[in-house]
């Protein structure tokens, strides 16, 4: 799997990434850090605890990270989650959570495959 294929799999925008980072190696370096990014796990935990402000912060940060990595699909679902939480609509956020989780897992699974292929 190439990095380009990885981006296709996850609904990402490879062109945006390469335009900004210029080099595949640089993109790969950042992309591989994503498996360790704690924001999604923390968001999950915060939603479980009905902790809206922490959940908002994590969703917001996740959105920023996804944007920086040109993970377009994840960015858009993280963005939607952020807006529910900004408005303190906890129930809506929880209802939306599975969609975000699906996008997140898509990225993480593809990333594992990509790393194994290297």
């Amino acid at each position: 799997m190439t990095i380009q294929e990885f981006y296709e799999r996850i609904g990402g925008d490879y062109n945006d990434a390469i335009n900004r980072f210029r080099k595949d190696t640089l993109i790969q370096r950042f992309v591989q850090m994503f498996t360790k990014d704690p924001n999604f796990a923390e968001l999950t935990e915060a939603l479980k605890n009905d902790d809206v402000s922490t959940a908002f912060r994590n969703a917001h940060t996740l959105k920023g990270v996804a944007a920086n990595l040109s993970f377009a699909k994840l960015q858009s679902s993280a963005s939607e989650m952020t807006e529910y939480l900004r408005a303190k609509q906890l129930e809506d956020a929880k209802a939306y959570y599975p969609a975000l989780e699906a996008d997140y897992n898509l990225v993480v699974n593809a990333l594992t495959e990509f790393q194994n292929a290297q």
């Binding site: 900004r20 980072f21 370096r29 850090m33 994503f34 924001n39 940060t61 920023g64 920086n68």
Partner: protein
């Protein structure tokens, strides 16, 4: 092309909770800058406090745990040494309100996520260039003429010394060149400069190692040094006075204020305020050129600051009360008027004497608000007495000399009196000669207007200071109030002679006279024989609160 790097290595601080975002910025910036990373505002602040000015720019995320971006901006805004560092906020929110809030709180610019390296580098580069260009002006640390620190840098260095050495005792000495303005006016600024650099030179020659010298204002040179024996300062002062005698400029005069073992809890600027204040205290004392700030003065100043801090609230919370002291009419042996006097009882400081707070209110300009407050209270009380059918008597209150600086003083008094529909003949206003001495034009103008409006003007404290008989004819006064100092020495023949003349002049000018401070039978008798109309003093009554005064009024 992004390089602002002209040999110097610049450092950028990235404050962002997410590691990936930090690493991306690091990857973008590190070819051109040294990059420091902090995972939240608190960690960023810690780095800033240890590195301070060596950081050229901050990239700041807003949503972070522990200390978020807004809290960080607020913390920076209270630290003057950090204010000059440009801050670029990194944002992924489309929320314009957040961005405006950041700008209001001191952010310089934004970059949006996802980061575009070109944009980030251009923006960082131009921000650093801009701030470095503007700080060239700030970097002037020294006063050209003396080589001493300028005001801001003196304060900054002293504050730093105090903070870093909490166990060291320090002294401050300030030399004020009293006559500098006059010398500049008379002989030109070059001569003034010559004097300043001469004195600065002699100070420099005698200051101990490690001392910090500053030029606070044009005429104030100040030395901050490790605490030494008092003798040292006296010798030092003596030396400078000797030097003054040999100055190249005529008419030089110098005062010295000392503050030894300064506290570590005060800022350099408030320490210097204290020293300058003691110099002011001796300014007009002939031959006294050295003044020391001591514990007693410190306590006094603290109390003064407390009073000034409390005054506005005191007015809002109606802590000021108005008392009335009867003026007794000798010809009818009955009450002929009253003077309204302000009293202040503060919830924690207790009773504060007008002798203490009025000069402070005058110095701060607050006095006029109090004057209008008293006017309002007095008029309201008179209204209630008129409504209750009590005997109609004129009531006076005091106008401060500072009130005459208020534009439209007479009109405002007229407005208040009319608001309560009080006949103008019932209102007397007490003024002092000092008001005339300080602002003759405004004083005469307002007095004229007030009299035309039908109010009566009383000249208060006559005979207490430098009263002049000319003033009596110039001032258009209706009533003369003799200061209580006359009552005290009423037995002296000379005094009686003077008083007889005053009464005769007052009589000829058509003024009635109120004698103040009268406490005994014989004083009443003496004044009666002189033809005095009114007596005010403890002999008849002390100042009374409203309810007691009402009883006195209908007695």
């Amino acid at each position: 092309m992004y390089k602002t790097n002209d040999g110097k290595d610049r450092t950028v601080l990235v404050i962002e909770d997410d590691e990936i975002n930090r690493e991306i910025l690091d990857a973008i910036l590190s070819p051109y800058y040294t990059v420091l990373q902090a995972e939240n505002g608190k960690a960023g602040l810690d780095i800033l406090e240890s590195r301070g000015k060596k950081i050229s720019l901050i990239l700041l995320d807003i949503q972070m745990p522990v200390m978020n971006g807004f809290e960080f901006l607020e913390a920076v805004s209270s630290r003057p040494s950090l204010l000059s560092i440009p801050i670029i906020v990194t944002t992924s929110s489309a929320s314009a309100t957040d961005e405006i809030k950041c700008l209001e709180n001191g952010a310089t610019d934004f970059v949006a996520k996802p980061y575009n390296p070109d944009i980030v580098l251009r923006r960082v580069g131009s921000m650093i260039r801009l701030s470095e260009a503007s700080s060239i002006i700030e970097q002037v640390e020294y006063d050209d003429l003396t080589g001493f620190y300028n005001r801001d840098f003196f304060f900054a260095n002293v504050d730093k010394m105090l903070e870093e050495n909490p166990d060291t005792d320090y002294d401050i000495a300030c030399c004020k060149l009293m006559s500098l303005k006059m010398i500049e006016a008379r002989y030109g600024t070059d001569e003034g400069s010559k004097l300043v650099s001469f004195v600065a030179g002699s100070i420099k020659g005698h200051t101990p190692k490690g001392a910090i010298c500053g030029r606070l204002n044009n005429e104030d040179l100040v030395v901050f040094s490790v605490h030494n024996q008092k003798e040292y300062y006296e010798k030092h002062a003596e030396r400078i006075r000797d030097l003054i005698k040999s100055t190249p400029v005529p008419d030089a005069s110098l005062h010295i204020g000392l503050y030894s073992s300064v506290g570590h809890n005060s800022s350099a600027s408030s320490l210097c305020d204290n020293v300058l204040a003691v110099i002011e205290d001796v300014r007009y004392q002939y031959g006294k050129q050295i003044a020391e700030f001591n514990e007693q003065q410190k306590a006094r100043r603290l109390r003064q600051q407390a009073i000034l801090g409390f005054m506005e609230n005191a007015l809002k919370e109606n802590q000021f009360d108005v008392y009335y002291q009867p003026k007794h009419r000798l010809d009818g042996d009955r009450i002929g008027g009253a003077e309204a006097l302000v009293r202040w009882t503060h919830p924690t400081l207790g009773f504060i004497s007008p002798g203490e707070f009025i000069p402070l209110f005058e110095a701060s300009g607050f006095i006029t608000e109090l004057s209008f407050y008293v006017a309002e209270r007095v008029c309201r009380d008179i209204r209630s007495w008129l409504d209750a059918g009590f005997p109609k008597i004129p009531v006076s209150w005091n106008l401060s000399r500072l009130d005459f600086e208020y534009q439209g003083l007479a009109e405002e008094i007229n407005r208040i009196v009319n608001k309560y529909l009080i006949p103008h003949e019932l209102i007397h206003l007490e003024v002092t000669e000092s008001a005339y001495a300080e602002a003759a034009g405004a004083f005469m103008d307002n007095i004229g207007k007030l009299r035309d409006m039908g109010f009566t003007i009383e000249l208060d404290d006559f005979g207490s200071g430098y009263s002049s008989f000319n003033a009596l004819s110039d001032l258009n006064i209706d009533v003369l109030k003799l200061d209580m100092c006359f009552a005290r020495n009423l037995d002296s023949e000379k005094q009686q002679l003077i008083l007889e003349h005053i009464f005769s002049i007052a009589n000829n000018l058509g003024m009635s006279v109120v004698a103040e401070g009268v406490e005994t039978d014989s004083q009443v008798e003496t004044y009666r024989q002189m033809g005095c109309t009114y007596i005010q003093g403890y002999y008849y009554s002390k100042p009374l609160p409203k309810d007691q005064f009402e009883k006195y009024l209908i007695k």
